[in-house]
Symmetry: C2
Subunit: 452 residues, 2 copies
């Protein structure tokens, strides 16, 4: 993309309404614009990152064998009356009446609707295991929406639901979700820690929340520092290998890590003091086994191998897709702006032309642009007449991890400058070597995106 043809309305001033850094930077970088309280338009740059985050979630869910579909945003109140939640849900549910006087609601979650789909089409254990998921807009009418997309009212969420014949099979789905979530966050450059959470009044036995450590988090968390060293790296995961999944889950759930809701002082005090940490955390996902809580009232049962009939064991598993953009920025920024991890960056590499209109500089920028595209990458070329300082400030603000700077002086020596946004370090390279290096940096990210 050439900046002269793009729509990137960056702000010079800090917007007064933003209380936390991610909200401030998303506004300043021209990523979002508030439409009304807790509801945002995603401007082109923000939309690109949202799509990148969404794509990683899709890829890792499908890698785990989970099947995408799409349920509508509006739901019938009748289904929620069947489960008993229509009256129980409270004021966060946006209730709507259509022109025929029918009660509807803007879905805050989808247990009822997915169970209705399941019970209409599946009646045998032979069709299990089955995990269906979607990524769809949800609405929760927060009394005090705040922190930009971190606590909005209209938000994008991945919610997935497993259907299994018994507890043991449902636990394999639980493990599959935990591992796929670990991979998902790692590809986004995030350290998200699974923490034993409170199942609350719903009363499921097993649930973990995934929290990103950040000062602005709304939750207080306690953990053994050993857990932050864990990484999946490029180990091969076979989602059909239940034993492998179990061992990965044990690796991540053995070190102490809990939110304040489930915190246990005596267990915490048993950790060696130098590893005992408390911090703030942002919740970016949750996995939850709840057994037959919905299959019982909604009558979703399957025939078993021995001819009996049992309600399916279910769980629901969520990732806050739009919220993740805020969490990533909270975890990765500096005074100059955002620092995108390579996995989610809106453009892979910036190109800054120091002397727009200079024949050699223009030609070299065009060559570099074409070479990056040929390598499967998407560059953002600042081809405007802005002065160099302004161009650098914009690139730093919007946070592209790599920048190639092209100017007449360097070109006389056959070099351009390749700069890392994260370290600020630059090196002089031939244009070909700079493109080659950027392509090598992104190669594992492009490979991870191919899941067919």
């Amino acid at each position: 993309m050439r900046l002269s043809r793009y729509f990137l309305p960056v702000l010079k001033e800090n917007p007064a309404e933003a209380q936390i850094v991610s909200h401030r930077l998303m506004l300043r970088a021209g990523m979002i614009k508030q439409a009304q309280a807790g509801i945002y338009s995603w401007l082109p740059l923000g939309y690109k990152v949202l799509r990148n985050v969404e794509a990683i979630v899709h890829q890792e869910q499908q890698r785990a064998g989970h099947i995408p579909l799409l349920m509508p945003t509006l739901q019938s109140a009748d289904l929620w009356r069947e489960s008993g939640r229509y009256d129980a849900y409270g004021e966060e549910m946006l209730r709507i009446t259509d022109r025929q006087g029918r009660d509807m609601l803007y879905g805050p979650t989808n247990e009822e609707l997915i169970t209705d789909i399941f019970r209409s089409h599946v009646s045998s254990y032979k069709d299990l295991p089955l995990t269906l998921y979607h990524i769809q807009w949800k609405f929760r009418d927060e009394i005090r929406p705040r922190f930009g997309v971190m606590r909005g009212r209209e938000f994008l969420m991945k919610d997935g639901y497993n259907f299994d014949v018994d507890y043991e099979a449902a636990m394999r789905a639980y493990d599959r979700h935990m591992v796929s979530y670990l991979r998902t966050y790692e590809r986004m450059g995030l350290k998200a820690i699974p923490m034993r959470a409170d199942s609350g009044p719903i009363g499921g036995e097993d649930t973990h929340e995934f929290l990103v450590l950040a000062d602005t988090g709304e939750s207080e968390v306690f953990y053994d520092a050993a857990i932050t060293d864990l990484t999946l790296g490029d180990r091969a995961v076979d989602y059909d290998d239940a034993a492998q999944l179990r061992s990965i889950c044990e690796e991540w759930t053995t070190p102490y890590a809990r939110t304040d809701e489930t915190h246990d002082e005596s267990l915490f005090d048993a950790i060696p003091e130098d590893r005992r940490k408390s911090s703030r955390g942002i919740e970016v996902g949750q996995i939850f086994y709840f057994g037959t809580k919905y299959s019982d009232p909604l009558n979703a049962a399957v025939q078993t191998a021995d001819g009996g009939k049992v309600p399916v064991h279910m769980g629901s598993h969520g990732i806050g897709v739009s919220r993740l953009l805020g969490a990533i920025i909270e975890a990765s920024h500096d005074d100059k702006g955002i620092i995108w991890p390579e996995g989610v960056t809106p453009f892979h590499c910036g190109i800054v032309n120091l002397r727009q209109g200079d024949e050699a500089a223009d030609a070299e920028c065009n060559r570099i642009y074409a070479a990056l595209v040929a390598a499967g990458l998407e560059p953002l070329y600042d081809d405007t007449n802005e002065r160099a300082g302004g161009k650098f400030a914009t690139m730093d603000l919007i946070g592209l991890p790599w920048r190639i700077t092209v100017g007449p002086r360097g070109l006389k020596n056959g070099v351009v400058e390749l700069t890392s946004r994260r370290t600020g370090e630059s090196e002089e390279l031939s244009p070909e070597a700079a493109v080659q290096k950027v392509a090598e940096i992104y190669a594992p990210h492009l490979a991870a995106a191919a899941i067919l």
Copy 2:
């Protein structure tokens, strides 16, 4: 995808509620399930086609230089009061009150919101031309939703908006849209004819609707048969070349083609009789120049080169993304089921194993599967124990354009069968040759999808 692991709930019986063939086939092929009147869940197969259609729309819009963003589904009533449409819109607008008593609505279209984004960030002619678009769920509270996704209440639409400094520039945007729409429909295997339409009470000067000819269409259309022979084929389109765009638009708008709203008997009668056609049509898109209808009341103006200030000239341009699935099926099916055009098919090729459990047949199916994936294609492998007749019936119903059939008898002679869904013709080929042929068929479609 292996069918044994997929969720494809096909129906054996014709559902009673479906009045038209596309609705019937979408239900039978397990593509959709009604959630409530005019609101559908997109089951895995339907969701895949929806994403494919959406991807083509994105690619062709971005190829034309139009910039994607995403506006929310819910909008504030206040903006619609500014434009005067809140009271004017009528009962099709779904009006909502939140817990704070604020008036909101589920967006049926986005002229107000996009104009608000524009006026907040753009104030100079130097930032024009600019076309922003999004693909988002809309809601129109139809009194009588029917025909499945063809006339639903919650529907997915691409709506784009051009902002230009004067009428002439806005007409270039109009041409860009017409050509990009022609390409879009052609890639989906559709013949969609641009027809001069009625601008209605809005009173814009220029508008064309795109109609797909089908007996079940809701519009009556009149046209010169010559227009159905026109095709863009693989001609190179340069969206910066206004003269080329104009000449393509003239090619398509010269032959007579109008809906009943603008039909002119005397012009129609001047067409040679053998080319004079009337038919039914399904509207799948519309382009619309409306000048300063929204920029005037919403005060969206830009500074001009000579220091003056003018309201921007706008147009809005829509494609009915979810409706297109119905239109494609109406235009492409037979007694056995759907016949997907290669451009949108949910899976590129079916693999039918005639003797599941036969060692040689299983191994060959696995090899063919891997070879298709290696060619960048997505196969659907029926690895179930269903008998051959049932497997063929399912493949015919869900409409994959190509099928490779593998059985022990053919393998003794080193051949498999490659079958075209459209013609029903089969040929015996070596497995390698069959894969090679399928890969060649899809090569132009994969190439068209790459737009960076």
